[in-house]
Structures are given as C-alpha cells and as structure tokens.
C-alpha cells in the first residue's frame, strides 16, 4: 500500500527492533515491552521479544549473539551483568546495530544510551517512606540479592539514606534471600526473634516481598515491609495493608524511551549536531543516561499497576506479538 508523504520517522518495511533480557518469563519485562512495542508500531516498525528463560549470563549472552546473527535494526538490552556484555555490545555497534540498555547498564560498552529508573533515588525514597512510616525511629533489616547491581545499588542507597537522613533508624540484620520467597519468609521469621522490636524490612525486588510479608503477618504484623518492583501479589499485599508499599520503576517509559533512542540511533542522519561526531564516528544520538522516573505504590494507587488489568484495557497480546 502506498503512503502519501513518507515521514523520516518511519521504518522501512521489515525494519525490526529486538528486546533482549534474562529470565524472560518474569513479569517485570512485560510493561517495558508493551510500550517498546507501542512506540515501534506508531512508527511502522516490527519488534521481537527475546532472551533466555534462565537466570544465567552465559545463556543470555548466547541469545544476544544469536540476535546479532539476525541483523536487527537495534537492540534494547537488560544486561544481567555489565562487563560480560561489553564485547558483544561493541560487536553490535561495529556492525552498525545500536544497543540501548535499560534497568541495568553496561557502562564501559559502546551502548548508545541507558534508560533506567535511578536506583539510588529508588533507595533513598524507599528509606524516607519507611522512616516516616515508623516515626523516624527504630530497628530495620534488609533482604538482599547480592550480585545483581541494580539490586545492590538500591540496598546501599537505602542504607546510606537511613544513616544520613534518619539517624535514629538502626540497621540490625541483613540476609541474602536471592529473590526466594521461602528464604525471605525464614529470614524475617528469625529476625523477628532476634530483634523483637524490629520495625521494618526492605528488599530490592518483589519475589522476596511475598515471603517477607507473610512472615511479618505471622510474627504479629508490626514489621513494615517495603520493596522495589510490583506484581499482582505485592499489589494485593499493599492494598490489604500487609505491606507498607513498593516502588515501581516506571517500566512503560523505560520501554518507550528505549525504543525512541534505538530508532534515532539507527537513523543518525536525522540529526547533525554541532560536535565532533563526524570525525570520531560515534553515534550522534549517544545519551549516557536517561532517568525514566519512578512511582511510589501505596494503598491508594495500587490498582493502577496491575498487569492483567492493564493488558485487558489495552487489548494487546503482551509479549506474544
């Protein structure tokens, strides 16, 4: 079919953009891809959702390399670890395939941009919310997932904020629960014993929250649970008041801006900035970091973050298209 006047902001037929992540089955990615898709379709581009079902960097690398073999127009990547992806991302760049990272970065690579919610702000805001909720005074604990940087950053930011802004808040226990609800359940159970007046627990991801909240309930319900990321269960817990709240990294914008950056980077001729890009050969659309903002999820707004409702409302097939 013929289009009257061809806009520069449209894809050539068949121009495909790929999103690549690990643990592909996990809810977190879906809203990201949903808006990635929307932006793409607006501009007549095709998208594919790829990655490895496992939580395994070697496997994600393999999937990334395979994606390269299909020569897409650009890749929106969540690198499980930063440095292992330097080489592959640079390969892509050299092959003229721009890579944009989101939610986790590979700073030393030639990725053209990094779209994320500021993990430090997430930690700080979480800390402030928790502190006010317990009256600026009391013992708190953290559950960790050591090794995944964005999670580690959230935790350290949380603790840092507490020590600096809320001096009466005392960190009494830390446990590595590695996104396992049962471990979180056990950890909070024991912590509640060792620290009878534990007031709050923070964790950088949603899986642990399910176990932690249950344990908090069973140990008398005076422990306030706060996490980053949401899922159906967490939202219900927040709604029921069994969790103080959560932080949502605003995935939609992450995906939308991710695509925009990819498209622009894939069409550098769209811009001609006054800088040395021609000589150095770097992509003129290179933006080190884009903060996609974040949202604090509470009783009142919890329902606005439900994936299933959202999907129904939009009537799309989610990641399956």
């Amino acid at each position: 079919q013929d289009t009257p006047q061809e806009s520069a902001f449209r894809c050539k037929p068949g121009e495909t953009y790929v999103m690549n992540v690990m643990v592909t089955g996990v809810e977190y990615w879906f809203p990201v891809y949903e808006m990635f898709k929307q932006a793409a379709h607006e501009m007549g581009c095709k998208t594919v959702y790829t990655g490895t079902p496992e939580y395994d960097v070697t496997k994600q690398l393999a999937s990334f390399q395979q994606v390269l073999a299909t020569h897409p127009a650009g890749i929106l990547l969540h690198p499980m670890n930063p440095d292992p992806f330097i080489e592959p991302i640079n390969q892509a760049a050299d092959a003229g395939i721009p890579v944009v990272t989101f939610a986790a970065d590979s700073p030393n690579s030639k990725r053209v941009a990094y779209v994320t919610s500021d993990n430090f702000r997430e930690g700080h805001i979480a800390a402030d919310t928790v502190a006010t909720a317990v009256g600026e005074e009391g013992e708190y604990a953290v559950l960790e997932n050591p090794g995944q940087d964005n999670h580690d950053r959230r935790v350290s930011a949380f603790i840092e904020e507490m020590t600096q802004k809320h001096p009466k808040m005392k960190l009494v226990a830390r446990a590595a629960t590695n996104q396992d609800p049962t471990k979180a359940y056990t950890a909070v159970q024991s912590m509640a014993q060792a620290h009878p007046n534990l007031k709050a627990v923070f964790m950088p991801e949603a899986s642990s929250a399910i176990g932690a909240a249950q344990a908090a309930l069973e140990t008398g319900g005076q422990i306030k649970v706060f996490c980053v990321d949401v899922n159906a269960k967490v939202l219900d817990l927040v709604k029921q008041g069994q969790m103080l709240g959560a932080i949502d990294p605003n995935q939609g914008v992450q995906g939308y801006m991710g695509f925009m950056m990819l498209f622009l980077a894939a069409h550098p001729q769209l811009i001609d900035p006054m800088n040395d890009y021609k000589r150095t050969g770097v992509n003129p659309f290179t933006l080190p970091i884009i903060d996609n903002g974040l949202a604090i999820v509470t009783k009142d707004n919890a329902d606005d973050f439900r994936w299933d409702a959202y999907l129904k409302r939009r009537g799309t097939k989610g990641i399956e298209e």
């Binding site: 643990v23 089955g25 996990v26 809810e27 879906f30 079902p53 960790e144 050591p146 009494v172 226990a173 830390r174 446990a175 590595a176 996104q179 396992d180 609800p181 049962t182 359940y185 056990t186 950890a187 159970q189 024991s190 912590m191 509640a192 014993q193 060792a194 899986s207 399910i210 176990g211 249950q214 309930l217 069973e218 140990t219 899922n231 159906a232 269960k233 939202l235 219900d236 029921q240 994936w307 299933d308 989610g318």
Partner: protein
C-alpha cells in the same frame, strides 16, 4: 557353632528393627543437640519458643518433600524435578481456584498434576528404561515450563482463599503451627511404613539389589513406579501447603530446591546407590540444615560470611557423624 546355639539374644526383633537406622540417627541427634546447646549460649533468643517455631516452620514443608525423596532414594532413584513439581502443584491449584473451583478441589487438582508428572517419569524409567537422573532433569524443565505457561509468568495472588483453607498453611493449634503438625504426622506415618509395611520392605529390597529383588519375585518396575509417583505426589502436597501459606502461586517458586532436599536425605543416611535411608534420619537432616542457617541469622553473621560458615559447619557435622558411626561399627 550352628544357629541353634547362636547368641540369638542379640537378634531381638527390637534390635533388628532398628539396625538399618539407629546408628546414623544417634549421631545426628547428638550433633544437632550440640549445635543447639552452643547456640543457646551464643544467643538468648535461640531457645525461645518463637525461634524454635520459626526454625520448624522453615523446614516443615520442605520436610514433606524430603520424605518422598528419601523413599525414592531408597529404591535407588533420584528426582531432580521436585522443586518444579512443588511449583506446578501450586500454580495449577492456584489457577483452578481463580477459575472458580473450591479450594479443596483445586488442591486435589494440583496434587493430581504433580502425581501425573510422577506417572510420566515412572513410565520413562520403568517402561522406556531411561535413567532417573535424566528423566527427572527433563521433567524439572517441563514442569517449570508448565507453571510459566499457566501463570503467564506473573505470580497468582490468592487473597480470596477462605481462611479455613489458609489455615492449612498459616493456622496454629495450641500455638503449634498446623504445617508442623502435618509434617510430623506424615513423617511418622512413613517412618512406620518404611520400617514395618511389607510393601515398603519391597522398596528396600529393590534398592538394595534390583536383580536379587527380581529373582525374589518382586515386580521391581511396579515398585520403582510407585516410589516415583509417591515422591511427586508428596511434592504436590507441599505445593498446596505453600500456596495456603503464602496465599499466592509464584511461577519461579522452588528453583534449586532439589539439591537441598536430596542433601537432607543423604545427610540423614540415604545413599545415592539405593538400599539405605530412613525417614527419621532425613527429618534430622533437614532439621540440621535449617538450624545451621537460622543460627547464622541469629548471630547476625555478615551476609558475605554466611555461606562460608554454613558450608564449613555442614562439612564438620557430616564428618563428625561419620566418625561416630565408625566408632559404633
């Protein structure tokens, strides 16, 4: 001397009944007590009812899985799929419930799904002749995939579960959590069965020497099939209980559970070559593992040290146990 004038005294039924088990269990009990005593000095909270409860809660449900695994190990099998099967049972019954089924019905559905995985594995092993290891590995992946499929990757939130049902996972009787009651009952039942029931004795024969069992007229295929289904079924039960506890069904639940479960059984005296193992032992094994972990939490050991120390204590415990047995033997 002929048997007639043998020291038959030493062969009292009592002594006999225990001989497969007692030794190992003795050792483990001593070690666990030792740790507990040490801990109760180290932390004032360790011996509080609250903490004891917390520790038991932490292994009660997995303990049910360990019971099944122990039986399968005794037969000479192994099941890597338990973690995924627990999760499958969780997600199946969860989604059935959301689809409007009564919670009890939904649970039965979940357990049935789990048992079905067991049936498939049993057939692969007995009919096709594949190894337990590979078969259960494949079904570990398949069952996980099914959970993903059912939940579409998002945890099912089951707030609407009626309290009567949640009671299974969260209720207490006289302050004792109901899950602990369930676990203890199941452990007792299977401990007795394993020592006394003829059916289970056949399990032991098969695991001890499959050929000899065949030449004793035992239908070893049926035995292996049965043990496999039983193991999966118990995993399914555990899944339902977890669902009742957490009021949700997470598709990523139970990843890596298999190793802990097998470890507990092996610490408890089960052998990967089959023919040995006991429920009491396995229970002690699972208890040991979780006492160690929660001790580290109570002592506020740095996150970075926890694994190191946990591993060392585990090793020390196993070694100590080993020596005690040697001395006894």
């Amino acid at each position: 001397m002929a048997v007639g004038d043998m020291p038959i005294t030493s062969t009292e039924p009592k002594a006999r009944r225990m001989n497969l088990h007692s030794m190992r269990e003795g050792g483990l009990i001593v070690i666990i007590l030792a740790i507990c005593i040490a801990m109760s000095f180290a932390s004032p909270y360790f011996m509080t009812w609250g903490n004891v409860k917390a520790m038991m809660l932490s292994f009660a449900v997995d303990g049910i899985v360990v019971v099944g695994m122990t039986i399968l190990l005794i037969v000479g099998g192994i099941d890597l799929s338990v973690g995924s099967v627990v999760c499958l049972s969780m997600t199946v019954s969860g989604s059935l419930f959301l689809a409007g089924a009564a919670p009890w019905l939904a649970s039965i559905g979940g357990i049935a799904a789990a048992a079905l995985v067991g049936v498939c594995m049993g057939l692969c092993v007995t009919m096709v002749g594949l190894s337990y290891f590979i078969t259960s590995l494949a079904f570990m992946v398949i069952a996980r995939g099914l959970s993903m499929l059912i939940t579409q990757g998002t945890p099912l939130s089951l707030f609407t579960l009626p309290p009567t049902f949640k009671f299974i996972g969260q209720g207490t009787i006289e302050g004792v959590p109901f899950v602990i009651v369930i676990f203890v009952v199941i452990a007792l039942i299977f401990d007795v069965l394993l020592r006394r029931a003829t059916v289970f004795r056949r399990f032991l024969y098969t695991g001890s020497n499959e050929q000899a069992a065949r030449y004793s007229g035992i239908n070893v295929k049926r035995v292996k099939f049965g043990a496999t289904v039983l193991c999966s079924g118990l995993a399914g039960l555990a899944g339902v209980i977890y669902m009742a506890r957490f009021g949700s069904a997470t598709p990523t639940f139970g990843v890596g559970m298999e190793l802990n479960v097998i470890a507990a059984a092996v610490i408890g005296g089960a052998s990967l070559n089959g023919g040995s193992g006991s429920i009491l032992g396995a229970v002690l094994g699972v208890a040991l593992l979780s006492i160690v972990s929660s001790s580290l939490l109570l002592l506020d050991v740095s996150v970075y040290w926890q694994d190191m120390i946990r591993g060392c204590i585990l090793l020390a415990a196993v070694a100590a146990d080993h020596f005690m047995q040697k001395r006894k033997a």
